[in-house]
Each structure stands twice: as structure tokens, then as C-alpha cells.
């Protein structure tokens, strides 16, 4: 195995990357999976090393230069001990909500004691990445779970993933309770890598929430997580992601989703904490008549940097996609939205819409929007719109004249602005959950 690693690290690489190389080498004994899986990891690490941390000359990362924002990759977090798990529990209790079933990952390791695996109903199977990778019989499954793209941060995740949740929902099964995957960070100045997998059988219905939180003392950590999801024909998935990391944390989440024929996927993504956050989604509408609705909200202040990047690939005819992004940027925050709609030649009758709107509350704030269309089919109806600007002075004046304070007036307008995106969340409870998060943010703003 050392031989493989020696090959993976050419001698002439830059110091920063050597540090990452060391991180990979140091973590080596702790990464589950041997034989073919170790090969996959080594190859993925080689792929990562070829480019290193993405920087502004990499088009997809133009606005989120990790060489500046992240500098290098921190060493892998230690396996959480009992005190760490106790601290994690406090954080879990704060973010959990009924009637969701909790699935908890602490510092990149599945914590079965904090999770409700026992409450899972029939037809729902939850395992861990570690099990999948260590069971030699599930090679095919391991390959699927560790599938990767050209993106450097996903490659790095493939190489370094320590654990994750593997969820399989049987055909036709309708889940009443949402599955709530909670990522908790307890270790400071360390990195953790998780890889989760979700398979929704044909005709199944499910809601999956992913939260990112930190235990009280955790700071300066780096989280890198990837979710691979397959949504079967005529299935319906609601997927929410709320990032509430520690104020100085870096969180890079990636998601690769394939959606089957006549299936429905509803995504919601919210970033309101953490120093540097990126969510990148690669959604392929693979079956005829698939429908996608995506809503995203970035709430930023101080020097926060949040990036939402979504590539929607219409690979089959008659698919519909709606993307709706909203950013509210205060202080010297920077919000980035990059959305791309691809209509392949066979994707006739594609209907794609993409809207991104940014509200700038301060002269130090920055909003970068890049809505892209890439159309190869002629019978399509695709469009995008993007706006950036401040709050409407005349509306503020109107509220002022009706006796509202400046702060209240701003809060009202911001809520209305965000409401357009939050309304897109299918589940009512989750909508309230998202609204509560924005209210908390607005309160803290005053």
C-alpha cells in the first residue's frame, strides 16, 4: 500500500500540496476499505493532486478561491471520544425536530448512540459507509457510493471519506417521518470527510434533511461532504440542507443526483453561518418527464463567503426544472450563485427556468451571479433572470411613514424577499423550520 501512495505523490509538487499529501498518508490507516477500494482512493487522490485546491483560474471555482479562503487541508479529525460525543449530543438536541428520525455523524464518524436507527420503519434500510466499504461482498455498491466527477473537492472526498450514511428506501415505500442527517463538528482545527448515499426506489416518497452544526467549543474546522442520490422512476424526494456551521468553519458540500422518469425532486439549500461555505449540486434529469424544483437562500454578514453552484443537466425529453435563488448580504459578505441549465440534443421539450436575486445591504457586500444556459436541443423553452440591488428606498419610506422603525421595515422587506424562495419548500413543517432560521438571522442582525 505504501508503494501506491509513493506513486501518488510526485516529488516536485508545491509545499501546500505536500501538506495535503501528508494528510492523506497520515489518515491512511483510518480510511475504511482495502484492495479495490484503496485503489479507487489512491486514484482519486492522484486526480485531486493534479489540480490541488481549486482556485480562481478554475472556471467552476472562479469566485471561490480555496487557495486563498482555505489555504490548505487540515489533518483528519480524531475519532470522537466520550466527552466529544456528549458535546455533540447537546448540539444534536438543539437542531433536531420532531417527528424526524435522527442519523448523526460526529466528526465524520457515524454515532449510532445519538441516532434513532431503531425507529426506522419497514422498507427503510440505513447502514454506514464504513460497513459498505469494509464488507468485501459489496464491491459494486462501494464503487457506486464512491463514484466521483472531475471536481477536485469531490476527488479529495473520495480519497479521504471516513464514514457516512447509506440509506436505501424500498420501492413504493412512502416515509411519513423525515430522515434527518445531522453533521456535528466537535474537533477544532481538523477536517472531516463524509460520503453519504441515498437510493429512493421506484415510486417511493421521502423527505431527507441534512443539517450542519457544531458543538459549542468547535472552531476552525473543515467539513467536506458528498451525497450521492438516485431517485427512482415516479419517486418523490424532498431534500433540505441547512448549513449552520461555526463562524470560522469551512464547509464544502457536494451532491450528485440522478432523477428517474416522472420523478419529482424538491431541493432547498440554506447557508447562514460558517466563514466559507460552498454547496455544489450536479443534478441529472435522466428519465423522461422528471421534475426538479430548487430553492436556495444565502444569508450573509461580516466576512462570510457563501457559494451555491448548481448544474442541472436535462438528459431526457419533457423534463421541467425551476431554480430560484435568493441572497441577502450584509457587512462585507460575499454571495456567489452559479447556475447552469444544460439541454442535451435529445432533451426536446425541455422547460428550464433559473432566477437568482441578490439583496445588498451594505457597500462592502458583494454578490456575484452567473446564470448559464447551454442548449443543444431546439424545441426548448429556457430562460434565466438575475438581479442585484439594494432595498427599495421608496418602500422603506412608505413603511417609515406608517410608523415602522427602519429595522423593522428592513426586516419585513427581507422576509418578503426570502419568502419567495422558502415558499418553494414542499413540506409545511420544513417550511416553518426554514422560516424560523431566517427569523433568527434577522434578529441577530439588529
Amino acid at each position: 500500500m505504501d508503494l501506491v501512495l509513493a506513486k501518488a505523490m510526485p516529488e516536485d509538487k508545491a509545499n501546500a500540496e505536500r501538506a495535503v499529501g501528508n494528510v492523506f498518508a497520515a489518515a491512511h490507516g483510518r480510511l475504511p476499505g482495502a484492495g479495490r477500494i484503496a485503489d479507487i482512493r489512491a486514484r482519486a487522490f492522484e486526480a485531486y493532486e493534479r489540480v490541488g485546491l481549486p482556485h480562481r483560474r478554475v472556471e467552476e471555482w472562479k469566485y471561490t478561491d480555496l487557495r486563498v479562503l482555505m489555504r490548505d487541508v487540515l489533518p483528519l479529525a480524531q475519532q470522537p471520544d466520550a466527552p466529544a460525543l456528549r458535546r455533540a449530543q447537546a448540539a444534536v438536541e438543539q437542531s433536531a425536530f420532531e417527528p424526524a428520525i435522527k442519523l448523526v455523524l460526529v466528526d465524520g464518524m457515524f454515532a449510532s448512540d445519538l441516532s434513532d436507527v431503531a425507529r426506522l420503519g419497514k422498507g427503510v434500510d440505513v447502514g454506514t459507509l464504513r460497513e459498505v466499504l469494509e464488507t468485501s461482498t459489496s464491491d459494486a455498491m462501494a464503487g457506486l457510493v464512491l463514484s466521483t466527477t472531475a471536481d477536485a473537492m469531490i476527488s479529495l472526498n473520495t480519497a479521504m471519506a471516513t464514514d457516512g450514511v447509506v440509506m436505501t428506501i424500498a420501492e413504493g415505500r412512502v416515509l411519513r417521518r423525515p430522515l434527518h442527517v445531522i453533521h456535528v463538528a466537535t474537533a477544532s482545527s481538523a477536517s472531516h470527510f463524509t460520503r453519504s448515499y441515498l437510493h429512493l426506489g421506484d415510486g417511493a416518497h421521502a423527505t431527507v434533511v441534512e443539517s450542519f452544526v457544531s458543538a459549542e467549543t468547535a472552531c476552525g474546522y473543515q467539513a467536506n461532504n458528498v451525497t450521492i442520490a438516485l431517485v427512482g422512476d415516479q419517486a418523490s424526494l424532498s431534500h433540505l440542507r441547512v448549513k449552520a456551521d461555526a463562524a470560522d468553519a469551512v464547509n464544502i458540500s457536494s451532491e450528485i443526483i440522478a432523477v428517474g422518469a416522472k420523478a419529482k425532486l424538491n431541493l432547498f439549500n440554506m447557508i447562514h453561518s460558517g466563514a466559507v461555505s460552498r454547496y455544489q449540486g450536479f443534478v441529472t434529469l435522466a428519465g423522461k418527464g422528471a421534475e426538479l424544483a430548487v430553492n436556495g437562500v444565502n444569508l450573509l454578514r461580516e466576512t462570510q463567503h457563501a457559494d451555491t453552484t448548481l448544474v442541472v443537466d436535462h438528459a431526457a425529453p419533457n423534463c421541467v426544472s425551476r431554480q430560484n435563488f435568493r441572497a441577502v448580504v450584509d457587512g462585507a459578505g460575499r454571495s456567489v450563485f452559479q447556475g447552469r441549465i444544460i439541454a442535451r440534443p435529445e432533451a426536446q421539450k425541455t422547460d428550464g427556468k433559473l432566477t437568482m436575486r441578490a439583496l445588498l445591504l451594505s457597500d462592502q457586500a458583494e454578490a456575484d451571479n452567473k446564470p448559464e444556459l447551454e442548449i443543444f436541443a431546439d424545441d426548448v423553452n429556457c430562460g434565466h433572470g438575475a438581479t442585484s440591488g439594494g432595498l427599495d428606498e421608496s418602500l422603506l419610506f412608505y413603511f417609515g411613514s406608517r410608523g415602522l422603525s427602519e429595522n423593522d421595515a428592513q426586516a419585513l422587506l427581507i422576509q418578503a424577499f426570502l419568502g419567495e424562495a422558502i415558499e418553494g419548500v414542499a413540506n409545511e413543517n420544513l417550511r416553518d423550520f426554514a422560516t424560523a432560521q431566517t427569523e433568527r438571522w434577522l434578529k441577530a442582525r439588529r
Binding site: 462592502q364 458583494e366 446564470p371 430562460g383 438575475a386 442585484s388 440591488g389
Partner: protein, 498 residues
């Protein structure tokens, strides 16, 4: 669907082999040795009897160019260009020193006549008394600078322009006659350290137009340059510099054609515009370089850097372009809105057919206070072409009150083409108002059906829709260009545009 299929078939049948300007003029020409080196740069500079500062400037640009590699980010694909296999300078061989336009090689005059550019007629008119009772000069006079391969062969109406104080001459002459103006402005908008193709141009440009409009002068006529590539294996590198001094106004037109050839030819131009306080420059282009044949063979690589600097308060620069030609277009006319209250405009129609690849758009840099910009881009993709709009709108911290509105629409004709939109919108303060909208669709079946049901032929119906689609931009063209542009569009899209 039947209607759509017919349209596609008709476009495919007629396609790009209709290029009307594909003839070649057989004249002797004077060429620099093939390839690029410091010697080539010195050769060109010497041919132009340039002062030493100009040679130094070129050499510096050449050295800058050597340090750079060709950009690959644009959505265009082409085989590697052999920069040593190109002639960097080609000029019609002078038979003797020319005293007047009558002494220009009649072959060249014929070429321009065939292209519909009446150099001779205009030149004769220049000396003719105005008709009694009539206005001294019809409003629609145009001064033309004709550039043949690497050199300017004729500039018309020089005398009348001189009366108004406007300087309009080949840039090679301007370097000799107005070195102070050239030195002051050349390279201040597109510096020698700019992009790969701009650096190359700075090193080897051979000719182009120079315009200076003095303070408070409204240029009495449209200025126009006509570019023609004739020689085989040559690159054309022209450089245009337009300066509108305080309170002046100028409208400038540019047209281009090339013979039909099986090999690809390189065209890397640089255009620099400078608008001082209250000045306005309107720059219109009808680009109709040879686009290659229906199998995608041959055609011009059009890699152009165009940039305008609104240096003064209340200045305005407006770009209008109709892009129908070239195998590959890589072109982003930009505005730097430096002066307070300055404004920039970009109106574009980009049509691609056959195997053409277009990656074009604009950049609007908002730097001053209360600056505004407007972008309207219409892309039509047919055949197996690729048509990309790529645009940037940015406002920095101090650009309070910056406004932009962008509309970019794409129309797809046929299912083998691609239309892409890649806008970048960067806002860095809270008082900006940026709006961007884009759509991509095909001609609506309902609309076609309606028109046909009212008695129009399929062809007329498509033509009506396409004309409606691009009308907003066509209206921005000066009148003589609008007619030419409309004709061009119907040729490029014959079958769908009537």
C-alpha cells in the same frame, strides 16, 4: 413540426455556400517573410517608416506575447494555429507613388466596387460642385478608409473632414503626422500587456484607421473603414484608434469581407475608443468575413479585442454589431465606465450557420458614479453552429448608483445547433441595480401557424419572426448599414429569413 422541419431543410440546403464576397483579386503583393520574429516586427515597422518609439513599443508587445499562451476558455474549438506559418504583412505592390485615388490599382478599385464600396465615385464626387440650389453635401455622405490586406489603400473625403478639424487617416500615417496624439492614446485602453491576441496585434499591426475629433465638433459625416483580406496565408492585424475630445460626437462604421478559401485565416484586430467629457462615440460593425463552406472548411478566425474607455464625465460609447461571418468569432466589445454619469451600450446580432462558432458578448465595467449600461444581444443559431453569449457586468465599491439592464435572447433553428449564454454579474455595493434576463427558444409553432393561416407563406412567416426578433438591434444601426445588415442576415439565413 412540419413547418419547422421545412425551415431546417431549407436552411441546410442553402446554408453558407451563398457567401457573395468569396472572390479573389489577382494582384501582385508585397509580403513580409513568413513567420514571426523580432525581425518581422522590425520589417513591418520599417515598411511603415515608423519612428523609433513605435518600434520599441511593438518589440515590447512582441516580448510580452512570447510569455503568454493562447486562451482556451472560450467555447470554440479549432486546430492549433501555426503562428510561424502566417505572413504578417501583405500589401498590394506599389507600382509608383500614388498621387490621387485614380492611380490606385484598378483591380483593387474593382474589388471594392464588387463589394459595393464605391471608392472611386465618392472620390470623384469630392471634387464636384454641389448641385445648384441643393445643400452643399447630402447628409448621407460617408468617408471611407479602405484597408486591403495589411495596408490602407484609400481614404475619401479627407479634405472636407479637415475643414471640420476631424483627423481621419490610416493609423500608419497618423503615427508619422500626429505622433503626439498617437503616443498619448495608443495602448491606453488595450495595453500591450493585454490578452494574447491583443499582444500579437500590438506587435505586428500594419494599418487601420485613426480618428481624432476635436472638442465640441460633431463629425459632419459617418466615418467608415472597409477591411478586405485578399492574400493567401496572411493574417490581418489592424488597429483602430478613435478619440472623441470633449463634447464631440462621431459615428464610425466598420465592414469586413474575405475571399473564399479552404484554409483558415487569422484576423486579430484591436480597436481602442477614448471618449472624454461629454463626448459620444457610436461604433457599428457589420462583420462578414468568409465563414467557411458548408462542410466547415476554411473561413476566418476572428479574434478581436475591442474596448472603449468612457474617460470623461457624461461620456457615452455605443457598440452595435451584426456578426454573420467568420468560422470562429471571439470578440467582446467592452466599455470601461470610468467617468461619472457615463454610459455604455452594446447591441448585437450574432448569426451562425453551417459550422460557425461564435463566442461573443460584452463587458461593462462600472467604475464611476451613476454610470449606466444597456446590453441587448440577439443570437440566432442554425445548421451545426455554436453560438455563445458571454458577458460581464461589474460594479466596484465606488460605483454608486450603477445601473445595468441586459437582455439576451437566443433563437435556435434546427436541432443540430447549440446556443449558450454565460453571463457574469458582479455587484460590489448596495446602490447598484443590475437586471439580467435571457431566453432560449425556437420560433413558436403557434406564431408560424397564425401567420400562415393569415395567408403568408412559410418563408415570409419565418422572415417576419426573425426580423421582429432582431429589430431592436437593427434600429440602432446607422441607416446605410441597416440596409446592408438586413441583406446580410437574409443571406446568412436564407430560407428562414426570406
Amino acid at each position: 413540426m412540419v413547418a419547422a422541419r421545412e425551415t431546417v431543410e431549407r436552411v441546410a440546403r442553402i446554408g453558407v455556400d451563398q457567401y457573395r464576397y468569396g472572390f479573389e483579386t489577382l494582384i501582385e503583393s508585397d509580403k513580409a517573410p513568413k513567420g514571426l520574429s523580432e525581425d518581422t516586427v522590425r520589417f513591418i515597422s520599417a515598411k511603415k517608416s515608423e519612428p523609433s518609439w513605435m518600434l520599441e513599443w511593438r518589440l515590447q508587445a512582441y516580448r510580452c506575447w512570447l510569455t503568454m499562451t493562447e486562451p482556451t476558455w472560450a467555447r470554440v474549438h479549432y486546430p492549433n494555429i501555426d503562428y510561424q506559418g502566417i505572413y504578417y504583412y501583405a500589401a498590394p505592390k506599389p507600382k509608383k507613388q500614388l498621387a490621387s485615388i485614380d492611380e490606385i490599382d484598378p483591380e483593387i478599385l474593382k474589388t471594392y466596387e464588387k463589394l459595393g464600396i464605391p471608392l472611386r465615385e465618392v472620390a470623384i464626387l469630392e471634387g464636384v460642385e454641389p448641385p445648384p440650389g441643393g445643400p452643399p453635401s447630402a447628409n448621407r455622405k460617408i468617408a471611407i478608409d479602405a484597408v486591403f490586406d495589411s495596408v490602407s489603400v484609400a481614404t475619401t473625403f479627407k479634405a472636407e473632414l479637415k475643414k471640420a478639424g476631424v483627423i481621419f487617416m490610416p493609423i500608419s500615417e497618423a503615427i508619422r503626422e500626429h505622433p503626439e496624439l498617437v503616443q498619448k492614446y495608443l495602448g491606453t485602453v488595450v495595453p500591450i500587456s493585454d490578452n494574447f491576441f491583443a499582444r500579437l496585434n500590438s506587435a505586428v499591426f500594419s494599418d487601420g484607421s485613426f480618428v481624432y475629433v476635436p472638442p465640441g465638433v460633431r463629425c459632419p459625416m459617418e466615418l467608415s473603414t472597409y477591411f478586405r483580406i485578399n492574400e493567401r496565408n496572411t493574417g490581418q492585424f489592424e488597429r483602430t484608434l478613435i478619440i472623441a475630445d470633449k463634447g464631440s460626437h462621431v459615428s464610425y462604421l466598420e465592414g469586413c469581407t474575405a475571399p473564399r478559401r479552404d484554409e483558415n485565416q487569422l484576423h486579430a484586430a484591436v480597436v481602442e475608443l477614448v471618449a472624454l467629457d461629454d463626448a459620444e462615440i457610436k461604433y457599428s460593425t457589420v462583420q462578414n468575413w468568409y465563414p467557411g463552406n458548408s462542410e466547415g472548411k476554411g473561413g476566418i478566425y476572428n479574434f478581436v479585442t475591442k474596448r472603449g474607455d468612457c474617460r470623461g464625465k457624461h461620456s457615452k460609447i455605443s457598440w452595435t454589431q451584426v456578426e454573420t461571418g467568420s468560422a470562429i468569432t471571439w470578440k467582446y466589445p467592452s466599455c470601461i465606465l470610468r467617468g461619472d454619469n457615463s454610459s455604455g451600450e452594446f447591441y448585437s446580432i450574432a448569426i451562425s450557420n453551417g459550422f460557425q462558432q461564435v463566442d461573443s458578448g460584452t463587458k461593462m465595467f462600472h467604475l464611476g458614479k451613476n454610470t449606466s449600461s444597456r446590453i441587448i444581444s440577439k443570437g440566432i443559431a442554425a445548421g451545426k453552429s455554436r453560438n455563445t453569449y458571454r458577458g460581464l457586468v461589474s460594479a466596484n465599491r465606488n460605483a454608486a448608483g450603477a445601473r445595468n439592464h441586459t437582455t439576451c435572447d437566443s433563437l435556435l433553428i434546427g436541432d443540430k445547433c447549440g446556443a449558450h449564454t454565460v453571463p457574469y454579474v458582479e455587484a460590489k455595493n448596495s446602490s447598484v441595480t443590475f437586471e439580467h434576463e435571457a431566453t432560449t427558444s425556437k420560433i413558436s409553432e403557434d406564431v408560424l401557424f397564425y401567420c400562415i393561416q393569415r395567408g403568408m407563406s412559410q418563408e415570409e412567416a419565418v422572415s417576419l419572426v426573425v426580423n421582429g426578433f432582431i429589430k431592436e438591434v437593427l434600429q440602432k444601426l446607422p441607416m446605410e448599414f441597416a440596409v446592408e445588415a438586413q441583406k446580410l442576415i437574409s443571406i446568412s439565413l436564407e430560407g428562414s429569413a426570406g
